[in-house]
């Protein structure tokens, strides 16, 4: 006997701004499709939830991205995001339709909205997850228990979280961790318009002004992947930038390279620059002077490429490669592109 016979399907909140759905919603719908395909006997559907003003015409798009069903609330109160009205509408949808799980993008909006809704219905909510599975051991009991994995301690530790006793199982998921499946215009699905009953239509928070953020330079201390340029790589800076871009990372440099005028001071790593600890640091043509190493040795994984087999950098690198950066880097960019296309 299933523990929660009334609760079914995986729901995805499709965040939109000015009527344009954010990609993260479609990434989550694509992942939800994969999840339901692992439990074919349970006949779970993927349901998109779209809140906004004049967003009805987007329902077909949500279906084309993989939803079986779309629940829409179209109301002028939902034109701009408001914690109050979005939480009110979403809570009523959850109470009415009883989703088994409910996924939201871990965006500024999602991380404002999901906790509020979860608290109102006393549901478990896992924050900022990077992986979701269904516990196949529980499927025989009629249960689609989500195993939600997230990094903690600044990415040093991972935890897999479950919500065994409450429904829906809620999670916010980081954007860009899941692929968006190709659009299928031929898909058909059900569109349901839902009319919430507003407890109050007086806003508690008023938007006085919205301003575009001034563009700032890159903050290398926040980058998850860094490709470092040393003096031995000064002729390959363009290739290194391409490599970093392909990996979704940033480029940084040693003091020598900055002093030579090839890179800006704000990307300098080391004792007189910044301290970084990305998941991956690729040191290109960096000898490994202690002043530089002090700023990057805590990186989770260090790969070094240097033509001098005696270079100090090889002592701290997890993997060292003796070679000429000018030869290796263009080939590496090609290999990364191949791996991404595979």
């Amino acid at each position: 006997m299933a523990k929660f016979p009334d609760y079914k399907d995986i729901y995805v909140f499709v965040e939109q701004k000015n009527g344009e759905p954010a990609e993260v919603g479609y990434e989550l719908i694509s992942e939800a499709r994969k999840l339901v395909s692992t439990i074919p006997n349970m006949d779970y559907k993927v349901v998109g939830v779209l809140l906004g003003d004049n967003v009805k015409d987007k329902a077909e798009e949500v279906i084309a991205h993989g939803a079986d069903k779309v629940i829409i609330v179209d109301d002028p109160l939902l034109k701009d995001y408001s914690t109050q009205f979005y939480a009110d509408a979403l809570t009523q949808i959850i109470k009415e339709f009883k989703p088994d799980s409910f996924l939201t993008g871990a965006t500024v909006l999602g991380r404002d909205l999901a906790p509020r809704v979860a608290a109102r219905i006393n549901a478990g909510l896992t924050a900022d997850a990077t992986k979701i599975d269904i516990d196949q051991d529980k499927v025989a009991d009629g249960e689609a228990l989500l195993l939600v994995t997230r990094p903690t301690f600044g990415g040093n530790l991972f935890g897999t979280i479950v919500c065994p006793d409450t429904r829906p199982q809620m999670a916010t998921i980081r954007p860009k961790v899941f692929d968006m499946a190709p659009i299928d215009e031929t898909r058909t699905g059900e569109i349901i318009e839902f009319k919430p009953e507003w407890e109050s239509t007086t806003p508690q928070v008023e938007i006085m002004e919205t301003v575009a953020k001034a563009l700032e330079g890159v903050d290398i201390t926040k980058a998850n992947i860094l490709v470092g340029v040393g003096r031995g790589a000064e002729h390959s800076i363009e290739t290194i930038k391409e490599c970093a871009k392909e990996l979704g990372g940033e480029v940084c440099a040693t003091r020598a390279v900055v002093e030579d005028g090839f890179m800006d001071k704000d990307v300098q790593v080391g004792q007189t620059g910044k301290t970084v600890r990305p998941s991956l640091y690729i040191a290109c043509g960096i000898s490994g002077a202690v002043q530089h190493v002090a700023g990057m040795e805590k990186s989770d994984m260090i790969i070094a490429i240097n033509r001098d087999p005696e270079a100090e950098i090889f002592k701290i690198a997890n993997m060292g490669f003796v070679g000429n950066v000018d030869e290796v880097l263009p080939l590496l960019v090609e290999e990364i592109k191949k791996a991404k296309a595979a």
């Binding site: 909006l109 906790p115 040093n156 979280i161 508690q204 928070v205």
Partner: protein, 265 residues
């Protein structure tokens, strides 16, 4: 104007390293600090107090007894009162149970404005602020990077979004969650630290909340999320150096990155 500031004591995660041989977290000797987003929240409250004498700041933390030292520090920095909510029965709480407990304590203590850090560097959930606001049935503004104006009826704040900023006017009482980059926390001088001991941290336990908070709603039992398992990232055990032709070097690096899921589409 009563401002309640919620803070958490956390291990300094920039000091935490993974033992590359065992793959476990090295926690020994890691200092405990006041969570950076919370410290910014305290500084924002102190800045409001600088401008308005009627502001009375109470700092509240839920945690083990050793968090008392951190709270004493908040008094040295200028808070009027500090309350430590500590009780074994509250242990093992997720954000759902934590927010219920904090909301109950806030009900007892009183508030016109609640300031909490956006998220803690150990859990990174960013959920306790909004969930506390929900329990108290008051509005929230998260990701605040400036408190522009405060009146008895409302606050005007700047909220940082991914690609834009909003100036929002929120009715009080409300919860604001603050970002660590919003200000530069003030220093304490020696005399402030000495003087702070005349104003001891108050201790609150579940007994103080039992009349408004059922026991099945707190601690581990009141937490809908459960930790299924924890693990650390794979780290290579040792240094390896390869001397290969350029093409093979490139292939091996790409393969390693792919195996470690560092190449994403």
């Amino acid at each position: 104007m009563k401002i309640a500031v919620l803070v958490k004591q956390v291990p300094d995660s920039t000091e935490i390293t993974v033992d590359k041989n065992t793959g476990t977290l090295v926690r020994d000797g890691v200092p405990s600090i006041i969570n950076p987003d919370d410290l910014a929240g305290l500084e924002a409250a102190l800045a409001l107090k600088d401008k308005d004498d009627s502001v009375e700041i109470t700092v509240i933390s839920m945690g083990p007894p050793q968090a008392k030292g951190m709270l004493q520090e908040t008094i040295a920095r200028g808070a009027d009162h500090a309350v430590l909510l500590t009780d074994r029965r509250l242990g093992g709480a997720d954000t759902c149970a934590t927010s219920r407990t904090l909301a109950a304590a806030l009900d007892k203590i009183g508030y016109d404005l609640i300031i909490a850090g956006r998220q803690a560097i150990d859990g990174d959930t960013a959920q306790v602020g909004p969930q506390t606001a929900e329990r108290l049935n008051i509005p929230q503004v998260t990701y605040v990077d400036e408190i522009i104006e405060l009146t008895p009826e409302y606050a005007v704040v700047r909220k940082a979004l991914e690609d834009e900023e909003q100036i929002l006017k929120v009715k009080l009482p409300a919860v604001l969650t603050t970002l660590s980059g919003m200000n530069k926390p003030r220093y304490m001088n020696c005399m402030d630290i000495v003087d702070s001991f005349n104003n001891p941290v108050q201790i609150m336990t579940y007994d103080d909340l039992v009349d408004i908070l059922p026991q099945n709603e707190i601690g581990l039992a009141g937490s809908p999320t459960k930790v299924h398992r924890t693990f650390t990232k794979d780290v290579s055990a040792a240094t390896e150096t390869f001397d290969l032709p350029a093409q093979e070097t490139a292939e091996l690096i790409a393969k390693t990155l792919k195996d470690k899921q560092l190449i994403t589409k």
